[in-house]
């Protein structure tokens, strides 16, 4: 593999933004038929490098050679012509168009009378077939597919233009384990067909599962290129963050593992709260100073339950009491007034106000609580902002910077600061560490542990079971929109145990429904004649 010429060779790439060097002399090469992971913390320059390669940014110095030819991309169109295709984190497709139209959009096959739809759909099917997806009906609307399948369609679309280089920028962040496996299968197929794949993910497990080679960036500089099998996790993380991992390891060791008194007064207790299509009737108690983890697969109702507790969605039945008083959480504003705060998993759409500054974003919730007529004096604002910028280590530490220009991890810290500034008694964190780097992750986890020590109740929702186990005192396990159990955390509780609970519940549930059916049948048979019941029971067996 090394003997060949790389299909992409970037040398000494430098990109400057006003005041900062986003990339400083970075080298990068990509060979045909390999999966190459680009590693680094948030703000290390991964996205910038990808944007340089796809023609979104112009490079200030350095050279890009694709397939032996030096290129200078003036736009994404140029990069695509050169055979470089990108699939971004969020699926950029048109859900209201058909699958085939999405795959071929902009590359429709034209006949003498405009677009030849039959040929176009045939070409779409061929493109899908390369990924083993030829069973899809290209005439169906894209919106009938799951997000994971849409992602695969997006990859087909990228491959439809005969791409030699495929860039996958965090394609797995909204997929569950089985879907990730499906994606990996497709990636392996493409790799074996000789496509060069550039892969970005924050999940180290995935990097080790799929990549052949990796390049590490740190603070806009090139750290090195390694074969994945030659570099163990410990070494990789150290290279990414530039310091030793041991500092991170001590984390979470101080979580409380002894069961509490069951009659200790709860801060919030919910009885039978539900919402159609989101959460079935659920009971829940959350006590002060407790970290309660919500564990479950995507779509299990973990986010939906958290949203009900914040009034982001309304409960349709059931009752919530806060400190023993019945409350009606009809809106986030109502929940905030009861000192409940909620950090959303959907940072971009429901979290940050992009065009406002760090300062404005941080004080927003406190200001909303006070009402518009009682503005916060600037001194108070500055005090809050300085406090949380320092406490959470927000970079850059410039309160007047627009939040949209920060990296994901730092946006998350600003939002965490926003909620902490409201001095909540219950803080609900939905995927607070998704899509952010190891360093920021550790800082946020540390903040959670500290809060609990100060007596704040924390609900911690995460798709990373290890993280839930590490931080939580008690774990609420959800499946199919309902709570299926609670696990008191202890030294011998592992992520595997939660997986077992979820898996076992499925079997039990299936058995239960079967039994129910049997009993229904039995009831019916009382009123009908016997031979029919026998055959029915035989069928069931």
């Amino acid at each position: 593999m090394n003997e060949e010429l790389p299909i992409v060779e970037m040398r000494g790439i430098t990109i400057e933004f006003p005041g900062v060097k986003a990339l400083d002399g970075v080298d990068f090469r990509l060979f045909q038929g390999e999966v190459h992971a680009l590693m680094g913390e948030n703000g290390a320059g991964k996205s910038t490098l990808i944007k340089a390669l796809t023609g979104v940014y112009r490079i200030d110095s350095g050279s890009i050679v694709v397939a032996g030819q030096e290129r200078s991309f003036a736009g994404t169109g140029d990069a695509q012509t050169a055979g470089i295709s990108t699939v971004y984190q969020e699926v950029n497709l048109a859900p209201n168009l058909s699958i085939g139209e999405n795959v071929m959009l902009g590359h429709e096959i034209r006949g003498p009378f405009g677009v030849n739809w039959r040929a176009t759909h045939r070409a779409a099917t061929e493109a899908l077939a390369r990924l083993g997806l030829d069973y899809l009906d290209t005439h169906k609307p894209l919106s009938t597919l799951s997000i994971a399948m849409q992602q695969l369609v997006a990859i087909s679309r990228a491959m439809a233009i005969k791409a030699k280089v495929l860039i996958l920028d965090e394609p797995t962040s909204s997929l569950d384990a089985a879907e990730v496996e499906g994606l990996f299968a497709v990636m392996r197929t493409l790799r074996d067909q000789g496509v060069a794949i550039l892969f970005v993910s924050h999940f180290l497990d995935q990097i080790y599962a799929i990549s052949d080679r990796l390049t590490v960036l740190r603070n806009g500089r090139y750290e090195g290129e390694y074969l994945t099998r030659d570099l163990d996790r410990h070494a990789l993380i150290s290279k990414m963050i530039g310091k030793d991992l041991d500092a991170l390891k001590s984390l979470g060791g101080n979580r409380r593992t002894t069961p509490r008194d069951s009659d200790e007064a709860a801060f919030l207790s919910a009885s039978g709260i539900s919402r159609t299509g989101a959460v079935d009737a659920t009971d829940l108690d959350i006590r002060p100073g407790e970290v309660v983890g919500f564990a479950g697969l995507l779509g299990s109702g973990r986010t939906e339950l958290a949203r009900l507790l914040y009034g982001a969605d309304r409960t349709e039945s059931g009752q919530i009491t806060v400190k023993g008083r019945k409350v009606d959480l009809t809106s986030p504003a109502a929940a905030l007034s009861h000192r409940i705060a909620f950090s959303t998993e959907n940072r971009r759409d429901e979290g940050i106000i992009g065009d406002l500054t760090i300062r404005e974003n941080m004080i927003l919730a406190v200001q909303a609580k006070r009402g518009w007529a009682r503005p916060m004096p600037r001194k108070e604002q500055d005090a809050i902002v300085d406090k949380y910028i320092a406490a959470l280590n927000v970079r850059p530490a410039d309160p007047e910077r627009m939040i949209k220009n920060l990296s994901g991890g730092n946006q998350q810290k600003v939002l965490l600061g926003r909620w902490l500034a409201t001095e909540p008694e219950l803080l609900i964190l939905d995927e607070p560490t998704r899509g952010i780097d190891v360093g920021a992750k550790a800082e946020i986890q540390e903040a959670v542990a500290e809060l609990a020590d100060q007596g704040v109740a924390v609900v911690f929702v995460s798709s990373e079971l290890e993280e839930v186990v590490r931080l939580s005192e008690r774990i609420v396990v959800l499946k199919d929109h309902s709570k299926i159990g609670e696990i008191q955390n202890g030294p011998d509780v592992t992520a595997q145990e939660i997986v077992d609970v979820i898996a076992a519940h499925g079997v039990e549930a299936a058995a239960e429904t079967l039994e129910e059916e049997v009993s229904v049948v039995a009831d019916v048979t009382v009123n009908t004649d016997a031979p029919a019941s026998e055959t029915l029971e035989e069928e069931i067996r």
Binding site: I353, R370, W372, P375
Partner: protein
């Protein structure tokens, strides 16, 4: 020492949203001066000590547009639009004229104040109708306010019984035509209102919250902001300000012309907001920008008349000026110019970077 300081003041000014609006005003005035060197001359009327001149006329003409433009700024900042302001001006004028005609006392200050008060109350209520349709019913702002834009003139017609009612009231007329220490009352009033509204909006958290709603309504709700009340407030304010604009506009002739008063001024207001550097998508707004925008539109109208541009070519002339300003403001066009400048002369850019580092 002083040279970099001056340069930084200059750079601050260039980055103000209304910078290009001011440049355009200056350019238009210069155009007028080329045609008539005495264009900018301001003289004092020896009989009453009032200032007289083209500039004074521009200030007077700009006042009503300023009023609706700052209302429009707030509404646009929430991510909405208020198409009804022109019609509300007619409603306000109709209410005033009918009230004054019925009262018949042309010298009473109380009657004039009551007429203004009633006009603002009615337009405030109509603004609230817009607000309820947008915030509580959930109609799209364009549709919700289009209803009142079309129906408003009908309402005005019903109020006056189909007539173009005229009335006389000296105090009311004074609002539009009077002078205070030589300066038109209507302009003083407009500036005062702009200052007060800006002060309230920026001193309270109203401005921040309106911007937050305009930029990201979902995230604002999640942050505990209650958008409904704020939306309602913005539309009510817009209605009341349209009412004030109506009073200013009918006051100068003391007649309400149902079909002409405030006709298509909503478009001027929207333009003023855009010239002021705000985005129609909502979010960041600048009341001083809208103020400059309104001044520019008045200057433009006056210039078109003065240069004798034929009436059929007037809209095209206006359009060219406005497109030019919008292009100059556009981020993309500016960065294109910067890139060109950088490739042609790399040296000055280094200096700028150094200065920024020093600052």
């Amino acid at each position: 020492m002083s040279a970099p300081a001056r340069a930084s003041v200059w750079r601050d000014l260039i980055h103000k949203p209304f910078f290009w609006g001011i440049v355009a005003i200056v350019a238009l005035l210069a155009l007028n001066v080329i045609k008539d060197p005495t264009y900018l001359a301001i003289s004092i009327n020896p009989n009453n000590g009032n200032l007289v001149g083209n500039l004074i006329d521009i200030l007077r003409q700009a006042a009503p547009v300023m009023m609706i433009a700052i209302g429009m700024s707030l509404v646009i900042a929430t991510g909405g639009i208020d198409l009804s302001v022109g019609s509300l001006m007619a409603v306000s004028g109709a209410v005033s004229m009918e009230f004054l005609a019925a009262a018949g006392d042309s010298s009473s200050l109380g009657v004039a104040l009551a007429a203004v008060g009633l006009s603002l109350l009615i337009t405030g209520i109509l603004g609230a109708v817009n607000g309820v349709l947008v915030a509580y019913v959930g109609l799209q702002p364009f549709i919700a306010t289009l209803v009142l834009m079309l129906a408003g003139r009908g309402v005005a017609k019903v109020i006056t019984g189909g007539q173009n009612t005229a009335a006389s009231s000296d105090p009311y007329r004074w609002i539009a035509n009077g002078f205070l220490v030589g300066i038109p009352v209507v302009f003083i009033l407009a500036v005062l209102i702009v200052v007060v509204v800006s002060w309230v909006v920026r001193r309270s958290a109203l401005g921040l919250m309106i911007e937050a709603i305009g930029i990201n309504p979902k995230a604002s709700r999640m942050a505990g902001i209650k958008p409904k009340g704020l939306l309602l407030t913005a539309y009510i304010l817009s209605g009341i300000l349209a009412g004030i604009a109506g009073v200013m506009s009918v006051g100068s002739v003391m007649t309400v012309d149902i079909s002409r008063t405030g006709y298509q001024l909503e478009l001027d207001a929207i333009l003023a907001v855009v010239i002021g550097g705000a985005s129609l998508a909502g979010g960041k707004f600048s009341l001083s920008g809208a103020f400059v925008g309104a001044l520019l539109i008045a200057t433009l109208d006056k210039t078109v008349l003065f240069l004798g541009v034929s009436s059929s070519a007037t809209p095209a002339f206006k359009a060219i000026v406005i497109v030019a300003i919008c292009l100059l403001q556009s981020e993309r066009v500016r960065s294109w110019f910067q890139r060109r400048r950088r490739t042609q002369a790399p040296a000055p850019r280094v200096e700028i970077v150094k200065e920024e580092a020093a600052a």
